[in-house]
Symmetry: C2
Subunit: 216 residues, 2 copies
Amino acid sequence: MHINFDLLDSLSDNTLHVKKGTYLYRKADASTCIMLIHSGSLKTVYSFQGTQEHRVDDFHIKKDIIGLDAMMDSYYSTDAVALEDTIVKAVSYEKLSHCTSRSAEVVEMLDTLKARFMSRKEETRGILNNLRAEARMAAFFISIISRMANIGYSNQEIQLKMTNKDIANFLGVKGETISRAKRSLVKTGAIAWEKKNFKILDFQILNQIVNPRFTH
Amino acid sequence: MHINFDLLDSLSDNTLHVKKGTYLYRKADASTCIMLIHSGSLKTVYSFQGTQEHRVDDFHIKKDIIGLDAMMDSYYSTDAVALEDTIVKAVSYEKLSHCTSRSAEVVEMLDTLKARFMSRKEETRGILNNLRAEARMAAFFISIISRMANIGYSNQEIQLKMTNKDIANFLGVKGETISRAKRSLVKTGAIAWEKKNFKILDFQILNQIVNPRFTH
DNA sequence: CGCGGCCTTGAGAAATGTCAATGCGAGTGG
DNA sequence: CCACTCGCATTGACATTTCTCAAGGCCGCG
């Protein structure tokens, strides 16, 4: 099913501006709404008590909905940090519950959003199952560029706002390994890369790195 | 919230007996019900088209509910294979939808089940984020024994029905690495282990292996 | 009893982590 | 506007870990 962004937009009763590096919400916060990313991007992060350690759960781009975990589990499981100046539109649970009793479309849309949230979790787990850093990296590129393409951006070029360290943390490897994996991917001709800008040159190579079983 | 197993049991309209090594359902199957594991255990597996490759998604034990992915996403995302002779009780969507219009408890229970399904996904992802095989292994032991304890089994002893290879696949490492990690955990005194039977001797050591940051 | 799959163990190859030095760039304050 | 600073990114050398391949033992099943 296709998500009706205009409908969501019309339901929103609050627009939030989040400066780069600041929190949209924290784990402990009471949750009262789901949020549609209008522009910008964020990361969600698991923090561990008693240490400075944290783990990047996922990255969220324009037209993603965040806060669904709280709706399903009654509390946020992560902190949300803006990767750049970001604008989100909030739709309160209150408004949603009003709508769900009247509009079948809203009910169906919420179910679709939850299902997508699930698939996304499974996808990120899939990325981690491959131990090779290059394969994780390639899977990451394919994933993020597909999502960009879905919302109308180029299906070849990306500008990544997150740091190398964030990507490393997300993929479960060290920053230095990301540096080397990127250089390696450039050398094979799979991607081009300058500063924060990436370009996919050869999807087939990228796919083969993710799934080496198809090569022989 | 606590799951009312008796209620679920009373809703079930079908009892299925699944022989060891056979399928409870396959990815392509039409899904009509969720299932409560009455006795035994299963693994769910992602299969990749065109190859023999597969990836163990998760293990499911007594009192787990499986088939929720299909309810949320309208199709099974995995195959389910019995690890031993297993009995499940099926609750059809049809019956559930009848109940949800009348019983607030059933609605709430379904929401709780979905939320747990989500947390479980996040937990398994967390296990994979640590690259060290020993750490993954330790996290796996802690996870599985907690779940066993939750349903009334010993919180120290486990009999694992899955093969080494299944565990290896689940944890994203090779079978040989599992052998060595187990031997290593035994040597540190964290676990005892004979054949398929495991015993947790020292939770603190196990936790420190998962989270080395707490040690110094 | 023999077969086949699983598990263990060893040795060497490949990949990632760790540590350290340097370069780079965005953001800060003068 | 410039200089400074701090965190991030890159690169190299070496340590650690896992993978790969191979051999042998064990166990369940026909």
